[in-house]
């Protein structure tokens, strides 16, 4: 296995969509559009950095989020709570980053990266401060 720690704790996906850039951007940012494929409902006042909102699932509860970067129609970043009904300040959060790239055939390549996953038992390890050099070290020892 050649994965580094960073990759292991990050979910990354790339998707080729047969829809133009603006259309995909709308599907990722318009609350009504989001409700068609992601949560059941989005509570959100505005689409700009710093705005907080909630993704609501009838079955699972409401998950708080904060928009970190809004760069239409290429990049969108939000930070969100890992647990329902938990504020962003008190619980574990992860970062979700979307990158959109137009393709020559009129479609869009969409990249998703969710990072910052931490297992409760890993907190102690993080506090030891070794993760900065860890990636290099893991690669070295894997040779």
């Amino acid at each position: 296995m050649t994965e580094s720690i960073e990759q292991t704790l990050t979910v990354e996906r790339t998707l080729d969509l047969n829809a133009p850039l603006d259309r995909v951007w709308r599907a990722l940012t318009d609350p009504e559009e989001l409700a068609r494929w992601f949560p059941d409902r989005v509570d959100q006042a505005e689409i700009k950095p710093g705005v907080e909102g909630r993704f609501v699932w009838e079955k699972h509860g409401a998950y708080a989020f904060r928009l970190e970067a809004v760069e239409p129609p290429r990049r969108l970043v939000w930070q969100w709570a890992r647990d329902a009904e938990t504020s962003l300040d008190e619980g574990v959060t992860t970062k979700v980053e979307w990158i959109l790239e137009p393709r020559s055939d009129g479609g869009t390549t969409l990249r998703l990266r969710e990072s910052g996953f931490v297992r409760p038992e890993d907190h102690e390890a993080n506090e030891m401060g070794w993760d900065a050099e860890l990636k290099e070290l893991v690669e070295l020892l894997s040779d």
């Binding site: 296995m1 994965e3 720690i5 292991t8 704790l9 979910v11 996906r13 998707l15 969509l17 047969n18 829809a19 259309r23 995909v24 599907a27 559009e33 068609r36 494929w37 992601f38 969409l110 998703l112 969710e114 996953f117 297992r119 102690e124 390890a125 030891m128 401060g129 070794w130 050099e133 860890l134 290099e136 070290l137 893991v138 070295l140 020892l141 894997s142």
Partner: protein, 78 residues
């Protein structure tokens, strides 16, 4: 298995710093240390990384389901 010197040669930090990091990695179970004579040899233990990967799998699967719905949603209009 690699000695501290072999690892330090490829890193921009001192031998002492490398030893400290290796001890920390050994403490959390990511590195195994074996003593051969006066030398300490180190080896990566991949099992904890596999466990992390396994732990993350449900989150990845959840995104696969959501992205599948997104794709279908966008195709409905074509």
């Amino acid at each position: 298995m690699l000695s501290v010197s072999e690892i330090a040669n490829d890193l921009p930090i001192t031998r002492q710093a490398v030893t400290k990091h290796l001890d920390a990695l050994a403490a959390v179970g990511l590195v195994r240390i074996r003593r051969v004579g006066r030398e300490r040899l180190h080896e990566l233990d991949q099992e904890p990384l596999r466990e992390l990967h396994k732990w993350l799998a449900p989150y990845a699967a959840e995104w696969d389901r959501r992205l599948d719905r997104l794709k279908k949603h966008l195709e409905e209009e074509l």
